[in-house]
Assembly symmetry: C2
Homo-oligomer: 216 residues x 2
């Protein structure tokens, strides 16, 4: 039986489907905001008391194939089940991201970086409540078995971090946030992903500065 939902707003991001990161990059350059259907604006009252929210959305630009056994961009050699992955290609393509609330004005919510493309239809917003949702004893499943787990997590989160490369460089270098980790979004698209990494000879761990010029 069909389950019928309606879009209740739109998610605005600097991404198109093919350059959308796999996970939310909190400090990603660019503007991220949600425009809620104005009919629902009053339902945002007190949402600004939360620092994090769940955003649920319809991955309407994600197309088949639906692979029941898949792999992760972070572990291309590990075979995992689709439901053990956060792949956007799912029987019901519902995206779920946790983002920071920056500002709420009328029916617009400015948020931290989210891992979906510009124009994504919004399904729901729920408050993220520490006492319900932050499971400090949670593990990372198959991710915990990766040989270079901490480093891979830093990549997944878009964090700048140091590499040790057998003296290829005089100094540890920094990755800036220009990875190209496209969503797998079409049958022609392979499992491979590329890292386009700018190496800097720097000890600076701070994220490269960027301008937020949010034009309403």
């Amino acid at each position: 039986m069909d389950i019928i939902f309606q879009s209740i707003g739109t998610i605005h991001t600097p991404y198109i489907a093919i350059n959308t990161p796999h996970q939310p990059i909190a400090d990603a350059p660019g503007d991220f905001w949600i425009t809620l259907n104005p009919d629902y604006a009053s339902a945002l009252r007190t949402l600004d008391t939360f620092n994090y929210i769940y955003v649920l959305y319809h991955l309407d630009q994600v197309t088949p194939p639906l692979e029941l056994l898949t792999s992760s961009p972070w572990a291309p050699d590990t075979e995992i089940g689709l439901f053990a992955s956060r792949s956007p290609q799912r029987p019901n393509p519902i995206g779920l991201s946790i983002v920071r609330v920056k500002e709420i004005k009328g029916n617009e919510i400015t948020i931290s970086g989210i891992d979906t493309y510009n124009g994504t239809p919004l399904l729901d917003i729920k408050p993220y409540m520490h006492f319900l949702d932050s499971k400090e004893d949670a593990n990372n499943g198959w991710f915990d078995t990766l040989p270079d787990k901490e480093h891979t997590m830093a990549h997944a989160l878009g964090l700048t971090h140091e590499h040790e490369h057998e003296h290829e460089h005089e100094h540890p270098h920094q990755h800036v946030n220009d990875h190209d980790h496209p969503h797998r979004h079409s049958p022609a698209h392979s499992h491979e992903h590329s890292h386009e990494i700018t190496h800097r000879q720097s000890h600076d761990h701070k994220h490269p500065g960027h301008l937020h010029e949010h034009n309403d």
Copy 2:
């Protein structure tokens, strides 16, 4: 434009809509399991490497009214926006719960207590990953302003806990997990909820024992 999803399985719980708790009670008595459409069984591979999962489901028995300004069963006097609440009455009635994975056999997943009624249609399962999903700096929003916050959280989570009642009892007593916190599920149903609490003169903090007799 309609967004059309399909149920991919069924959630089995001891609850009917009117006695479903508002939040997952991890150690609730009774059996909780998910039957996935057998066509998708192979997509569960490696899901058992996670200790927690997200379960997304269609709250198909939740009916109007849709109140844009609502209150919480935990804060009946605080007016909050619908999107700042976890009310099941939402424009798109998608439920989201975090539960423990206990066992996976074929297309059946035995889970810890979940806050939905028996027969709920399943929309999706996603792995809960500590490094992505456990936001230790998250707050509890308006919940943090409640005068008896810690106590109310214990109720919400169904935890046994002590009360101090101005010497009404000789000893601190224990709540057993038989609260009746029904989902608001029909127009005739008021905001009020009742606590049916069994007082015991006991210092025992353990959860009352219960049998799990899971009949497949």
